[in-house]
């Protein structure tokens, strides 16, 4: 059985915990395992924070919308927005962290790549869409799309 739900996300860091808690509650109800839910929470925080902190809107508002689809044991998260496109699949891999390097940037990208089994990005004139799949690799059939 597949369930799905949608929620708008405010362009405000204060809404992140609420959005992630909403996704967590639905994932628990859908029977998604704790490990997969944790991966989903991490990637939601990274992707949404990136839009709120760094996204440059191309319309009156960023119009961030979160959509969840559950087909246990898998979960799929789709985030759409109206910001300048940032194709996570084409972004350069950040250098390894160093105690001497003052730049910590890129860890979010590293975590998203590590904790998804499917990653896709699409952009047209009005919206960008990031799709992140979570699940056991053995049943995902996933990877970078």
């Amino acid at each position: 059985m597949t369930d799905s739900a949608r929620r708008a996300v405010a362009d405000d860091l204060a809404d992140l915990r609420g959005a992630i808690a909403w996704a967590e509650d639905l994932a628990v109800g859908a029977g998604i395992s704790e490990d997969i839910r944790y991966n989903m929470q991490i990637c939601l925080e990274e992707a949404l924070a990136n839009l709120v902190l760094h996204g440059r809107k191309t319309a009156e508002a960023k119009d961030i919308v979160l959509e969840l689809t559950f087909a246990p044991p898998r979960a799929t998260v789709t985030i759409s927005d109206r910001c300048e496109a940032y194709d996570i699949l084409k972004a350069a891999t950040p250098p390894p962290p160093s105690l001497d390097d003052m730049h910590e940037g890129g860890q979010g990208l590293r975590l998203i790549r590590a904790f998804t089994v499917l990653l896709a990005y699409d952009s047209d004139d009005s919206h960008n869409t990031l799709t992140m799949g979570f699940g056991p690799p053995s049943v995902s059939g996933g990877g970078v799309a």
Partner: protein, 113 residues
């Protein structure tokens, strides 16, 4: 996110974090933690009570480790829950700072610097 600090008999500072080390949690402890690492040398960050960690939490740990290192001190991490350990491992920051499953091992590592 709560931070509780205790001076151990060994001279190591035990800093215990509890809660979610997400953006909101990191923002809450950044200032008190920065003040703490400015006046301490050897510190164990006990992550046993941390239920969630993402990149802003990693950044908080890196800033603290860097500040202590610059002053000739050392930060080590102790006792992370499995999902937090997974984030530390995937990012490479757990190995870079030094992560130990027990508090005793972490204290020994902090004293060895």
């Amino acid at each position: 996110m709560d931070l509780v600090v205790e001076e151990m008999a060994s001279g190591v500072t035990h800093a215990a974090l509890t809660g979610r080390l997400d953006i909101e949690g990191a923002q809450k402890i950044d200032i008190p933690l920065n003040a703490l690492v400015g006046v301490r040398r050897r510190m164990v960050m006990d992550l046993g009570g941390v239920t969630f960690m993402a990149s802003m939490g990693l950044r908080t740990l890196m800033v603290a480790a860097r500040a202590l290192s610059a002053n000739g001190g050392k930060l080590v991490l102790a006792n992370p829950q499995p999902n937090v350990a997974k984030v530390l491992a995937e990012s490479g920051i757990g190995d870079l700072i030094g992560t130990y499953p027990s508090l005793d091992d972490a204290v020994a590592a902090a004293l060895s610097a």
